[in-house]
């Protein structure tokens, strides 16, 4: 899952980036409205954390422009102005949720997690495909109730696939959503992660669609 953080305060920005990276997201940071807008326009993000009071271009304008251009990624706005009219303005501009400053990072993490999950159409914090259960909050995976140890990259791949069940996910899409923009992308590593996942989960749940990518089925494990 890839997240964009747009916040002009350098300290707060790095705190958010660190916390989100620790939570397993690929994170890009922008420090003003124009940079944020550019990144949002060019990179596929699964969620955006957007400050309202930004230099160059304020957050609401950025958001409105994105929505006008048909970008639908969930956006969490950070606002120091916590009056209801500010919240109404934010939501009407196309925000999906808001957090009032000052906040605890956990609050932001929980909201981002909920937004990503909601965008994928999942109602709970646990995703399930056949025998595999993935707990988003605890970042834990079990097969038939038995915990499975995954590296963070393996977890990210599985999480993305399970968020988008029954859909063919190309390798490019996976790399785009799993790594931030500074990462040296090599789609071969994806194949390595898929292979390890298949072994660790002891399942052929992850299906290879030749020439296209991978798919995970939502229902019972295919026989």
């Amino acid at each position: 899952m890839r997240v964009l953080v747009v916040e002009d305060d350098k300290d707060l920005n790095s705190q958010l980036v660190e916390a989100l990276k620790d939570a397993g997201y690929a994170v890009d940071a922008a420090f003003d409205g124009e940079e944020g807008q550019f990144l949002g326009d060019t990179e596929p993000y699964d969620a955006v954390v957007l400050d309202i009071g930004l230099p160059q271009l304020d957050g609401l304008s950025v958001l409105e422009q994105w929505r006008r251009d048909g970008r639908t990624m969930p956006v969490l706005i950070l606002t120091a102005r916590d009056r209801w009219s500010d919240k109404v303005q934010g939501i009407d501009a196309g925000a999906d949720d808001y957090v009032a400053k000052p906040f605890h990072i956990e609050e932001v993490l929980a909201r981002v997690r909920a937004l990503v999950r909601r965008a994928a159409g999942h109602a709970s914090n646990e995703l399930q495909c056949g025998a595999i259960r993935l707990d988003l909050r605890a970042a834990r995976v079990t097969v038939d109730g038995n915990p499975v140890k995954l590296t963070s990259h393996e977890f990210k791949v599985l999480e993305y696939l399970m968020h988008h069940t029954d859909k063919i996910i190309t390798r490019t899409e996976l790399t785009e959503h799993l790594y931030d923009q500074d990462f040296d992308r090599d789609s071969n590593t994806i194949e390595v992660f898929i292979g390890r996942l298949r072994k660790k989960l002891d399942s052929d749940l992850i299906e290879t669609v030749r020439g296209l990518g991978y798919r995970i089925a939502s229902g019972a494990a295919p026989e």
Binding site: D9, D11, Q15, R83, W84, S85, P102, I105
Partner: protein, 455 residues
Amino acid sequence: MAGTTGSLSFRLALYSAAGSTIALIAAGIIFTTLFRQSVERNFDDRLDFLSRALVGASIAGERLTLDQTAAIGEPRFALPQSGWYWQIRDGASGEILAASASLFGNILPELDLPASGDDIRVHAFRGPGGRQLRSLERRVQPSDIQSYAILIAGDAEALAEDVTRFRNTITLTLGLFSILLALGAALLIRFGLRPLRKLRASLSRVRLGEAERLEGQYPSEIAPVVDDLNALLKSNREIVERARTHVGNLAHALKTPLAVLQNDAADSTDPANARVREQTQVMNEQITHHLNRARMAAHTNVIGAVTPVNEVVEGLARVMRKVHQDKGLMIHVAIPEHIKFRGERHDFEEMVGNLIDNACKWANSHVVVRASQMRGKSRDSMILTVVDDGPGLPQDTESEALSRGERLDETKPGSGLGLSIVRELVRIYDGNLVLEASEVGGLRVRLTLPVSTES
């Protein structure tokens, strides 16, 4: 309040009463004097005529040809003590040569006419019987050696009576006139001061928050005052708005650094961090608290604000539907378009927003917001209800939530229920807040607020 320097009406009434009284008394005196002079002149003319008639009847050449009984056009000269007399003396010796029968042997006093010349003199004196007489004396000199002093006297009592009667009549007339004048003055004051009463009514509407400025046309004497007052109201509003903006900017500027500090101190077991956490928490609470207080303090001075209820609640509902999306809440808003809250938009949002947010947090599936307008005795009001189907408040919590006073509010800004600020705002707007069990099992919050009846 400024001290009063008496009533303007009273002052006007006093001045006009004093002025007209003096004018009327002077008029009375002048009229009476003129009348007296006119009546006396008439009387004197008559005496003069009678005197000439007497001269014509009595003097032929140098000799006196008259007898006592001659009636010279006036029968009262023959009646004894009638008050009408004539008397002829010798001009040189002063000897009485002839007198009217009416004198009855009495003598009229000699007058001090100059020794020569054809002179006429008018004199008032008391005659026989003590009657008030008015006489005219003339000297006739038929030849160089002979002269006569002819005195004619008439009863002047009637004259005095006429003057008295006239004075009474004129006093009565002028008295009536003064009453009419007083009525006129009262009407004048009433209608003349009407713009002032209108100004007062307009000002009180502003004070009650029903209008933003003084409306209407005023006479040129008051119009500058009205313009100045309007300018004052406007600058007052601007000052309040500016102060509020500054407080807001300061508070919001502090929030980002606070967030940084708070999060920096969050993930450590260092006791110094614990203190930072604690203190940032306190700072945050203080900011929120004083920001709210500044807003509210400012709002009591902001007048004439009107807020469309439906529009605001729909906006809040949009936020709630999105924010509480996971719960799949049905948020139903049923508010007639015409209802308008008489007060600040942000205040209304703060009150209703917190109430709806609470309801959404507790509700299982439904939240209903309704409003209706009520006609009151002194002013109209609206009742806004927020109903949820959550667990509701336990009986004791409910009463605690309601009985919490200001003291607790000050020490605990932004308490868990968010109700302290709501209650504070409700108090400022002289409204009413009731928490009760709803028929669907959850909580029903009933908020009564003033409405604007302006269209």
